[in-house]
Amino acid sequence: MAAEPKELRDDALNGLRLSTQLERVWRTPPGLLGALMSVDHKVVGRRYIVTAFAFLGLGGLLAVLMRIQLAGPEKTFLSADKYNQIFTMHGSTMMFLFAVPVMEAFAVYLVPLMVGTRNIAFPRLNAFSYWMFLFGGGFLWISFLFNVGPDVGWFSYVPLSNLQFTPSKRADVWAQMITFTEVAALAVAVEIIVTVFKLRAPGMTLDRIPLFVWAMLVTAFLVMFAMPSVMVASTSLILDRLVNTRFYDSSSGGHPLLWQHLFWFFGHPEVYIIFIPGTGMVSAILATFARRPVIGYPIVILSLIATGLLSFGLWVHHMFVTGLPQLGAGLFTASSMLIAVPSGLQIFCWLATLWDGRLVYRTPLLFVIGFILIFVLGGLSGVMVASVPIDTQVHDTYFVVAHFHYVLIGGAVFPLIGAVYYWFPKIAGRVLSERVGRWNFWLAFIGFNIAFFPMHILGLIGMPRRVYTYTADMDWAHLNLVSSAGALVFAVSFALLLVNVIYSLRKGELAGDNPWGASTLEWATSSPPPPQNFDRIPVVKHRDPLWADGESLPVVAGLSTDRREVLLTSLAEAEPQVREASPEPSIWPLLTAIATTIFFIGSIFTPWAVLWGTPPMAIALIGWFWPKGSKEDEA
């Protein structure tokens, strides 16, 4: 047998030669086609983040329109029809196109860097996931611009969303958009789980995984178990609408409450799918700016897992006024309140960390402090909403609107904006302006509270949700005006963030590898990171490697420099196991996404699309998985 030419490994090269060689192997091909083929988790992650923020901007604009309409009684700024479309689009956009995707986007970008590997697991699936998300979101918004936007609420309750009461395509658009985004979310969840389980740098045992990565791992499992429920729900809905199945029709054996159970079995964990990544961001930011590790690492992780498990046991609190048996409802009160325990434990750990830390008051830390103040209040109003008797009054009123904006904006968006300020230097290589950042924080904090605090009172004095107007004699006008003014201030804070990002991309101060003196591995490489992430895979000997080992991280060598290769390690102890090939750039994920999009959208208009839409998908998938005879993985 002829000897193969000896493969070049990274122990044979050094310094600049090694970097250049790895960069040549790992880079995204040039040109437009190259960009469309990219499977680099950083490129995909960046696109994901930017797209999700674009949807945040659109959803935010809709919120401003609603606040203008509600600023006074009997305003005619929006018609009932427009208002109903807009509140549905606002909720759907924020939940499905912003909150979940943006958290997964940060994970796509950061998790491989934080666990010290060269790419995410299943990078082509990752590219496919982004395209599906983009096409699904684009489809929803284009439909909205053509006046086919859904108008039955982000929860789309039957029978209102049945064919009988929504004969137009609006509910189909909603249901199919769900399918798009769930496919995208499930794909990322799989990638994150495998990346965390198998691609960690040698030595990163389970108890050395950064808290942010733990949070994303728990989130990924939540996605895996929650999303199928809503996919079943929305698929049954679309079948009811298109081919006359009767899942939700009470006159032929179905039931409208089936929809609510399926939807909230997803919908409640959904809240934690959004919130848990926020806690991960808080833990990461806090450690860096309190200049010490977060107190109670095992408590925080167990709390994350407990929150994840408990989140599946409390969906019924969304249904307290549907006429459930009283004792059953009472038990769900207790289970709903119990989730305050793991959330509380995390808060206590953070408070202890702040108590002991030597605080560096930069913008990310300000957002974390704002997060604690707002989120705790939202959590406490959540305890109130969990009580059956209180809920019978506040359910579907502005009290609940206030509550979940305190939880979601306080619990997820504040940490997220903090995360933008924190990780922007890593992603863009430049630091965001601190001065603008402070303005951004104070406007956001003050604007948010002015906008949403009065809603608690509005709900208690009788204002229901989802009403496009109210009469002057209801005494709601003043508080609504205050709320609308606050919403404008809050909107300005996001405009400032945008200005800051655009300005700092060109003129911002250069970041260097580790501008904040942080401890986790993503700061061990350059900013922005090279295509291969790390020239040599680091070896982790401590939970805070950059604090423990300073500038000289130990590394392993022996990976190929001729082709894309990642190191697989064992699940618990992260001992090196196998060198495995990592996929090359490919156009097939994009083509598969296009074929799937045609299939999904076509099936709204005719069931036959299920037939003629399948062959293109099959062709695309065959192209994707066509065997290339790649080298066997080696131990």
Partner: protein, 336 residues
Amino acid sequence: MSVWVRGVLVLCTIWPLAACAGQQSALDPQGLQSEQIQHTLFIFLVIAAIVWIAVVIVLGVGMLRRKPLTDQPLDLDQAFEERSGRVVLALGIATTAIVLGLSFVSYAGQRTVFAKDEHVLTIKIIGHQWWWEVRYEADRPHQSFVTANEIRIPTGQPVKVELESADVIHSFWVPSLTGKMDLITGQKNELQFTARNAGVYRGQCAEFCGLQHAHMAFAVIALPPDEFGRWRDHENQSAASPSDQLGMQGEALFRGRGCALCHNISGTMAGGQLGPDLTHLASRTTIAAGTLPNTPATLAGWIADPQHIKPGNLMPKMPLQSDELIAILHYLEQLK
């Protein structure tokens, strides 16, 4: 600073409002059930406020504490680490105790709110897009009657409402009397409440039910029992026959112009079942499910163009000459 201001605002804004709240308010309880709910609400509110202020104090003191600077983030005091771990766990146990305690408080309140009394009056309420059908069903059929968007009840007596839907899901909510309950297609729900005092209590649909969800209000009018009895006897009777020429003309037009296809007026040929029963329309305080006060002017405007006032509702705009409109209006005004 802003933190303290907010904390104080929380307490100051809610209590005065409780005193001056309007006619549709959970903070202005006028029934046994709403009083109980408010009681539970205040227990929760006080505990929540204490917890939040405690967190703010710990956070504030933690931020103000002077701590020695060091370049060694991992140079930790082991004794402190262990102590803080224990404190965190102790607080976790305290949290558990609080939420379990609150669960019991909540369940006790729930049992009171949903306690079943020997009811004296049962009213069936059927939700429609976007109005309320109200059926008083007595054992003797001739004492049963139907009305819309206004529910009269006797004070001091438990009332049971049976809730059903004719189309999509709605929710029955009169916050001054009790919490809400959904009206769900294919399901029968019920709710009991007792009004303490006579008065008009506004209610509103609380579950999004389509285009005009915002205009689906109703009124619960609590009357002293004897007055309620008189109203009920009156409501049992058929509609008054028109007393003058114009009224008779109006009645004929009501039948001839299609109104009677959807609306019922007891004792006449008008027997439609799709829209609200109009037998005693003139005695009601509002029209179009609480959208407008019931005056000749608003009623005329409604008949002339219902789609302008409440776009999307099922009542079509009928082409009527102005003298025809006046005749119909005159007739309807006599349905006391």
